[in-house]
Symmetry: C2
Subunit: 401 residues, 2 copies
Amino acid sequence: MNELRIEGARRWGDPAPTALAIRGGRIVALGADADAQPASATIDARGQLVLPGLVDGHAHLDKTLWGERWHPHQAGPTIAERIDNERRVLRGLKLSAARQSARLLRHMVARGTTHVRTHVDVGPEMRLAHLHDLMHTRAACAGAVDMQIVAFPQGGVVRQPGTLDLLDAAVREGTDAIGGIDPSALDGDAAGQLDGIFAIASRRDCELDLHLHERGEQGARSIGMICDRTQALGLNGRVAIGHAFCLGELPPAALDPLLERLAMLDIAVMTHAPGGYMPFPPVRRLAEAGVHLFTGSDGVRDTWTPMNTGDLLERAYLVAYNSGFRDDAGLELALGMATWGGARVMRAPDYGLDVGCCADLVLVEAECAAEAVAAHPPRRLVLKRGRIVARDGVALLPAAA
Amino acid sequence: MNELRIEGARRWGDPAPTALAIRGGRIVALGADADAQPASATIDARGQLVLPGLVDGHAHLDKTLWGERWHPHQAGPTIAERIDNERRVLRGLKLSAARQSARLLRHMVARGTTHVRTHVDVGPEMRLAHLHDLMHTRAACAGAVDMQIVAFPQGGVVRQPGTLDLLDAAVREGTDAIGGIDPSALDGDAAGQLDGIFAIASRRDCELDLHLHERGEQGARSIGMICDRTQALGLNGRVAIGHAFCLGELPPAALDPLLERLAMLDIAVMTHAPGGYMPFPPVRRLAEAGVHLFTGSDGVRDTWTPMNTGDLLERAYLVAYNSGFRDDAGLELALGMATWGGARVMRAPDYGLDVGCCADLVLVEAECAAEAVAAHPPRRLVLKRGRIVARDGVALLPAAA
């Protein structure tokens, strides 16, 4: 029996240092109760803060160039140019999505990620090949990270006939969700794309997680159409929208009613705080309106950008920094997006820091959660179901094949 | 004689691994010549990139809360509120600026900073006390970091009578530069403040480094007035402007002639890429116009914000991220601001990676400079004049008193 006691650490939200007893992959006791538990190993965690495992709610593990030679960015600025460039580069490199995703996951685990929802390209070119590769990685890395897979029509749905059938097949093969992308700007037929993917979600009882880069009023119209279909099909709590740049551009008169609908329908919003003068959802305003928020790495070291690092605590920092947060409540809101927010979207069972929760834990040198975000210090220890999977930034996993 | 050979590392800009021989605090040979030099110690730096020491061109070492208990941010959003809050908090905490600056410097050195220009509050309340404290720290840390001190009238000049005399006294006591701040928005008398500080700079032959938070056209007018006085007094190459948010807000018709003047008068511009929806200078546009750029930490863990970390390589990342840079040229531009850009403003002698340069060096695991920015990995080794001052993120200096 793997019995572990972590001593002298602070749990997020509790200013007093305490002990955590871990057995059978779970937190079984806290404080004096924990001190009384048997332990085959103890960890002196004085000065450390215990966070629940970081949740990367929006990754693209199948397309990373992680571990390859440095690839100078060369794509044009539009979404269409970036899609075309990506296909061209990846065709040339002939990388294995199984190997690449395992390489990047190893890095993410070293930085404290215990849960990841990854979008996986599905379309006429690769069909379900990336999906199969990612299922392989999911099984291979199951001891270190819980993975959800979203079948993602990167190239569009309407403009790429046959994609809906592939998405449907992906669900039958076991993806957790299907995606969508810019139904007006990329597909030129918002109703066509949305009706198609919502029909699959409704028929197959799977979740939806859509990319929405559309700007301003065009984006707002698409969000309205997503709300309409969520409501009509009773898919409350099963739909998420990623990026949603437009929410950072709308005047209050247009934003407020949209946020009210998103909150009512429990449609979660993901932002990774894109920088580069891009608008992004006003995080505090969304939280006040009751909209559920989460964050993720987006593409790490890929043909879209070399700038994302796969470090979710740094991501929480970027969300806070780019939102202009300086107060503890803002910093904790950002960290909440990288933890509980994503866990809720992924329906991670028994997630948290209480007795009975899975012992998916990250230890960092910090006095409180706000400091952990501001300093985003190295991860001293990462536990997955009570097992140490990374120490001082190094993953204790077999190397990727 | 301290002789050191670094083997197998890449120098920024040179794709082939090479050797660097270091003697007497300088780089004395490269490549095969370096292999032939005697060395009392060698460092295996395969896989590492060698950067010149990081230059923090805009810090506020005297006001940091570094090393103290976490201080939840509580200041209001305006500059005036933040100044008032700061004075109130610092009066309560009674910290020593000598101790605080040494604490933060130690952290900065661990992250590769070898040069720092710090603004030090001067005004009726603290008079020259912070300046004296920083002079003490400058002497105590001289083996690890080169420091310039800017006497900074945080509370204004015109609205705080006696401040000009203090600035003048500061120069006589050995500060390298004097500052200014928002001559219109804070002092309400742009000509009054600027004429006063330019007169000192001209009379005492010292440099000027002004804070300018003023927005839009008000800021543009102040920059114009700074240019006028720089030109009239022949202070070309001796004036810098920090923040200059307004440069991120002006339409091209207003921006372009201003950039032409800044370039012609060799007035350097510092931005730390503030985030939080703040405009900031369009870095690539300024570089194209020939304006010299540099960057810095700004206040680290102080009453203004807890969000700056004192890590200049991460700062280069933030400059690139928030500028929307993805290409190697953009990433190298940002890193240039954190190295050569600041070194030029500080007139650091013999700065760089060539034979004859001071061996102020930072080693990081990266293939090229663009990757160093994108990943901003831990600093494996930091050298100051050929002496190892930090290893794996830990400064090898006496602890701050």
